[in-house]
C-alpha cells in the first residue's frame, strides 16, 4: 500500500507541471476561466483527495498510541 500511495503522490507532483496547457487559454472553462487556471483549481481538489487517501490508508496510528500512553502515565 505504501508503494502505491508514494507513487500517487509522485504522480500528483508531476501533474503540477502541466506543459500541455502552457501556451493556451482555450477552452475557457464556464465561458470565462482560462483552462490553465481551471486546471490548477482542480489540481487543488485532487491534492485534497490524495490527502484523504493518505489519512485513510497511511495514518501513523502508533504515534498517537505512544502519546496517549505518555498522557496516561502522567496522570
Amino acid at each position: 500500500m505504501r508503494v502505491v500511495l508514494t507513487a500517487i503522490v509522485v504522480a500528483v507532483y508531476v501533474l503540477h507541471q502541466d506543459l500541455w496547457f502552457w501556451r493556451t487559454a482555450r477552452p475557457l472553462v464556464l465561458g470565462f476561466m482560462p483552462v490553465g487556471l481551471a486546471y490548477h483549481g482542480l489540481y487543488c481538489l485532487l491534492c485534497s483527495a490524495v490527502m484523504g487517501l493518505l489519512v485513510k490508508f497511511a495514518w501513523p496510528v502508533h504515534f498517537d498510541q505512544a502519546a496517549l500512553l505518555t498522557e496516561d502515565e502522567g496522570r
Binding site: R26, L37, G41, C44, M51, A66, E73
Partner: protein
Amino acid sequence: MIPALFVFSYLLVVLYVGIFAFRRSSHEGSAEDYFLASRSLGATVFLFSLFGTNMTAFTILGSSGHAFSNGIVTFGLMASASALIIPLTLFLIGTRLWALGKRFGFMTPVQFFRDRWECGHIGTVIFSVQAALLVPYIIIGVMGGGSTLSAISGGWVPYWLGGAVVAFVVMSYVFFGGMRGTAWVNTLQTVLFLSFGAAALAIIGSGMGGFRHAAEEMLRSPATAPLLTRERISPWLFLSYTFIPLSTIAFPHINIFCLTARRMKQFKPTVILYPICLLAIWLPSVFLGVMANRAIEVPSIAAKVEARKTLATQGSALPAEERNRLRQAAAGDDVIVLLLSHYAPLWLAGLLGAGIMAAVMASDSQILALSTMFTEDVFAFYGGKERFGPAAQVHTGRIFVLGLTAVAYLIALRAPTSIFELAVQYAFSGYSSLFPLLAAALFWKGSTKWGALASTLWTVFAVVGIAIFQYAVPAPQSGPPVVAWTLFDVAVLSRTPGGTAVFGLMPVVPMVLISTLLMVAVSLVTRKPTEQTLKRYFSQQDRIRGSRSSRALVTSTTD
C-alpha cells in the same frame, strides 16, 4: 471613513477575542498553557488557525497584484504549488512533531534538535538563524498595518499611528492570550478571508457585467492575451517554485503550532482541507487580479495599464527615474481595493478593509513563536528557569513580546519597507534550506549535530550571498537576465528582473539540494548520537516504553 470604522470595530473584536473570551484554561499561568494553549486545540480551531497563521497580506493584496502584472501563472506558482507540499509535510512531519512534543515535552524545534542530536550550543546557532529569518516578518507586519490603516482611512490615520494601533492590538492579545488568544484570532481571520473571496468575486463580476466578455476581450488583445497563459514563464522556473512550500513546516511558528493539537486526529481535517482553503482564497484573488486588466473604466486601473504599456513600448529609451516612476505607477498591489471601491457597496469595502487588516496582522504567530523560542531555547536552557522558577518563564515570555513589538514598531518607523520585503523574500528560501534538518532528525538515524550545523551555516552563507549579489548587480529593467557567471557556455548565475537565477532555477533549489547534501556528507563522517537516544526515536517498542523518562532529558544535554 466608513471602511475605517469597520476596521476599528474589527480590531476591537480581535482584542476581545484574544484577551478575554478564550482565557479559560485550568492550567492558566503555566508555560505550556501560555505558549501552546496546553496542547488542547480542537480540530476546527486547529485547521483555521494553522491556515490563518500561514496567510499574510500577500494572500489578498500581493496575489491579485502579482496576477495583474503576470497573469494566471500566479496561482500555479504560489497556491497550487503549496496545495500538495504543505499538507504533505503536515502529514509526514507535523504529526511526528506533535507526537514527540507530547511524549518528550518539547515546545520548540530547537529543543527537539538538542535532544535528538545530543547538542547544546549548536541548537543555539540554529535558534539564532531561525530568529534572524523571522524578525523581518514581524517588522513588515507592523509596516503593513500602518500603511493599510492609513490608506483605508483616506490618510485620516497617519502611518505612525496606524502602525502603533496595529502593534498595540497584536501585542495585547499575544501578551494576555498567548497561544490560545492567537489561535482564536487567527480562526476569526480565516473565516473573514474565506467569506471575502466568494463575495468579492460575485460582486465585482456582476459590476463588470460578467467575466465572459472581459476574458474574450483580453484574449483578443496581444498585450493581455499572454496573461491568460503561462507562455512568459519558463517551465523550469515554475518547477522551482514547488521547493518554496518546504519552508512552511520549517517556519518555527508553524512547527510550534503543530504542538498545540489536542489529539493527532486533529491533523486529519487540516491535512485534507488545506488545499481547498487555498483554492477558496487564492482563486478569486488571482482571477480578479487578472480580470482587473479589463476594468479600464476604473480610472486608477486605466492609469496602471497605460503606465505598463509605456514601459513595454518605450522603456529602454526612457531615463531611469521615469522608468522607476512608471514601474511604481503600474504596480498592482491595490487593484483589488480599487475594484471593490468602484464596484462594491461601502459595507463590503469596509469588510475588505477588515480582511486586509486580518491578513496584515498575521505577525502575531511569529511574535509568539519568537517569544517561545527565546524563553525555552535561551532563557530556560541556560538556567533561567531553574534559577527563577517556572513562573518567571511566562513573565519573561510576556516581557519579550512587549520588547519585540516595541522594537519592531520603532524600526518600522525609520527603515525603508523595501529592505524588509527583500528579507522576507530570502526568508522563504532560507527556511526551505533548513527543511533537511527536520527531515533528517525525524527520518534518518545516521544524521548528526555536525551535519545539522553544516546545513545551517550553508543556509546563512546562501542567504547572505544572494543578498550581496542582488545588491551588487542591479536588476535588468525587463527582457533577458544579466548573466554574471557562465561555465562551459551555460549561464550559472544570473540577475533577473525579479531576483536571482541559478541554472535558470530559483536559488531555493540549489539551496535545498546543497543543504541536503551537506547534512548527508557531514553526518556520514561524524559521530552519531548514543544508541540510547537513537532507540528512543527509532525503535518502535522503545517509542512507547521510552516515553516514561524522557521529559527530563530535554534540557540536560550539552555539546
